[in-house]
């Protein structure tokens, strides 16, 4: 098992390295002039050269990549003697806009995404698997049709629509909830919860559909397996057959999708939800940085999100190994 884990982690590190290289190449190849952007409106040619130098843009591509790569592990110093900014390891560069290390900004926005993503994920997993199992067990009957129909509605609606509808109903019309937004948990747990309730609900409605369908089809596939018949032939009660023998096998494909979803959600992929509910998360940061051509931030958010997806993959692989002995002992 340990060897399996080490193997997975090594593979993940390799993938991240490749992603870093690719992102950097794209960054370098973009037809924009970061120095000009950083220079601002009143820019003299000498000042521009200075900035180019301080950003390291006057160096060759390979040197730049090496500097960036080195920065990831050893940290990096920007500017000259007069204005010196230290960017500690892992350094993802300095924002052109704010001159602060990108990572600092990212970590500042991260708790919002973590709260939003994890909170919603737990709910849609539990509800989705539950509904999916119900639909599978009652295949072809009313409960199944209802669950499938509900899932279809969830898949079809847009976050914009659901989010705005929820905001209108709960905040404006009935005024049950305060205006949504993110309050750090450490500051005020109650405000944290109330502010996130509607964003969670929105994400749950959208993701629930997929999990219900996935669980249903996975479960039906497992029901057709010979070992399910064996379990019944032993005299096990129907509930135990479904929950112990069925779910255990049906859950594996769900774990994979779930890992990916959680990884990308907390990595900042809930952009639309963030913007609908005015949450300052990594998704919003990414969108803003694109608008401002703030390339180090774009690079930083991309790598950050990629890291989470890759890490989620490792976790999925490990959980896979725990669930399926054929993987673990191979």
């Amino acid at each position: 098992m340990l060897r399996y884990l080490v193997r997975r982690l090594l593979a993940a590190a390799m993938i991240l390295l490749v992603i870093t290289a690719i992102t950097f190449v794209i960054f370098y190849a973009l037809p924009s002039n970061p120095a000009l952007l950083a220079c601002g409106k009143t820019c003299s040619p000498s000042r521009l050269t200075e900035i180019r130098h301080s950003l390291g843009l006057d160096q060759s591509f390979l040197t730049q990549f090496w500097e960036f790569f080195k920065g990831l592990f050893a940290g990096r110093d920007y500017g000259d003697q007069s204005v010196r900014v230290h960017c500690g390891a892992p350094c993802l560069g300095l924002s052109f806009q704010t001159d602060t290390p990108v990572l600092t900004t990212l970590l500042g926005d991260f708790p919002a995404d973590l709260s939003l993503g994890l909170g919603a994920a737990v709910v849609f997993l539990v509800l989705g698997v539950g509904l999916g199992m119900l639909a599978a067990v009652r295949r072809g009957r009313a409960a199944d049709k209802a669950a499938v129909g509900l899932a279809l509605v969830g898949v079809s609606v847009q976050i914009y629509f659901i989010g705005l509808l929820l905001l209108f109903l709960f905040v404006d019309k009935w005024q049950i909830l305060p205006a949504s937004g993110y309050t750090p948990f450490t500051q005020d747990p109650s405000a944290w919860f109330q502010g996130l309730l509607l964003p969670w609900a929105t994400l749950v409605i959208v993701y629930l559909a997929m999990y219900t369908r996935l669980t249903r089809s996975s479960m039906l596939e497992v029901f057709a397996e010979d070992y399910m018949r064996t379990a019944r032939a032993k005299g096990l009660p129907a509930g135990k057959v479904v929950l112990k023998h069925g779910l255990r096998a049906a859950i594996t494909p769900i774990i994979t999708i779930f890992g990916m979803d959680v990884g990308s959600l907390i990595g900042g992929s809930a952009v639309i939800t963030e913007s609908v509910f005015g949450i300052n998360g990594i998704g919003k940061l990414a969108v803003d940085s694109v608008q401002n051509s703030d390339l180090p931030v774009i690079l930083g958010t991309t790598l950050f999100a990629a890291t989470f997806v890759v890490l989620a993959n490792v976790v999925v692989d490990v959980v896979y190994g725990l669930v399926d002995p054929r993987v673990r002992l191979a």
Binding site: R7, L10, A11, M14
Partner: protein, 385 residues
């Protein structure tokens, strides 16, 4: 449920294989080997690692096999799972690349000839597969399936592809009107007939049949065996017939080789192999075959091995059968027995064993039962009595 009408099972013996009218049917010139296989080996590497794969072992699927098949003759390869019989078939038809050894077909060494360049041999060397469900493309009509080898081989029969395909369908006992139907409209036995028609399309000299009847019901099995037998005799096609069913092999093949863990342990003409075997494994195999004769069971010797065939990843040293053999001694561990003619064996009967059995399968004075679950009970029963 919508299987096409089943045709009469027997093949018409008066109808020649289409397109072969001028070729001399029946007995080929004696003494010529159509297929010569020597020192054939296939090791499948087992690799490990993420980026840099290193080989940590190999499956010794086929580990030094020699045999010849004369033109128009039939050789059977029998053995249990993992013995390498199917791999051998795939090596001969060049679906797999041998690790070592040579395959000479019709005087031409085809061991390493790329498949694309062996047109001539390809045409004369065809294969029939076990699973009539997965070996036919479900999106192609029966006509297309049977015609494809002709088109690929650049063969243009005088009567045209379609007419020829219909003749072939008739030869294998299918209705030529089924030309435009799809494989899923046919039953298992009929699909196997389509596979046979496809193999016959190029008038091959040798057909490698890999478990051609094991997926079929008993009554259908017999239809296909008879069909193959008729085609074999009628057109003088040589066969390498691979099967785990010893009775089917005995019925179809003049000469039979018994394989165990990648090696031939015994080879002889069928009469000798089935009545006067010398290798303990052949004895055990024959003894294990259930026969639908309540009296026959008592006349035959009873040998029950323990356990399953060992893994071909790390085959036993010396004689590979020694781990399951009741006669194994020190010599079997250290020295690999060569496949030779033993004293008392007729010509052509080769056995690879240091301590061969008496050439009979009659019941012994004492059964050989190595299975601890069965013998163990008798001991405890005696103990408590």
């Amino acid at each position: 449920m919508k299987a096409a009408d089943e045709q009469e099972h027997a093949v018409s013996t008066t109808q020649p294989l289409p397109g072969q009218q001028s070729a001399p049917a029946g007995q080929p010139p004696a003494g010529e080997n159509l297929l010569e296989v020597s020192g054939l080996r296939k090791h499948f590497p087992i690799r490990h690692g993420i980026v840099f794969q290193r080989q940590i072992g190999a499956v010794h699927a086929v580990d030094g096999v020699d045999f010849t098949v004369g033109a128009g003759r039939t050789l059977g390869l029998v053995g249990e799972s993992g013995c390498g019989k199917s791999t051998t078939g795939r090596l001969v038809t060049r679906l797999l690349e041998p690790t070592a050894g040579t395959v000479v077909f019709d005087g031409e060494d085809i061991t390493h000839t790329p498949v694309t360049r062996m047109k001539e041999a390809r045409r004369n060397l065809q294969m029939i597969f076990q699973d009539p469900y997965s070996s036919l493309n479900p999106r192609h009509t029966v006509g297309t399936i049977v015609e494809t080898p002709m088109r690929l081989g650049g063969i243009n029969p005088p009567q045209g592809h379609k007419r020829r395909a219909q003749e072939l369908l008739e030869t294998v006992g299918l209705n030529p009107e089924h030309y435009n139907r799809y494989p899923n409209e046919f039953s298992g036995g009929q699909r196997q007939r389509i596979g046979i028609a496809r193999a016959l399309a190029l008038r091959p000299k040798l057909i490698v049949a890999d478990e051609p009847v094991s997926a079929l019901d008993v009554s259908i099995q017999a239809q296909i065996v008879n069909l193959l037998q008729d085609l074999q005799r009628e057109f003088g096609i040589a066969f390498v017939f691979i099967a785990h069913d010893l009775a089917v092999v005995r019925h179809f093949c003049e000469r039979v080789a018994v394989m165990y863990l990648g090696k031939i342990v015994e080879i002889a003409d069928r009469q000798t192999l089935y009545t006067r075997p010398r290798h303990p494994y052949t004895h055990a195999l024959l003894s294990a075959v259930p026969e639908a004769d309540p009296d026959g069971i008592r006349r035959r010797e009873r040998i029950r091995l323990a356990g399953d065939v060992p893994s071909p990843v790390d085959p036993p040293s010396g004689c590979r059968f020694r781990t399951r053999c009741w006669k194994a001694r020190e010599r079997c561990v250290t020295e690999e027995p060569p496949l030779v003619r033993l004293g008392g064996s007729p010509a052509g009967h080769l056995t690879a064993c240091h301590f061969p059995e008496e050439p009979t399968i009659e019941a012994r004075e004492e059964d050989i039962v190595l299975d601890p679950a069965v013998t163990g009970r008798e001991e405890t029963a005696a103990g408590t009595a």
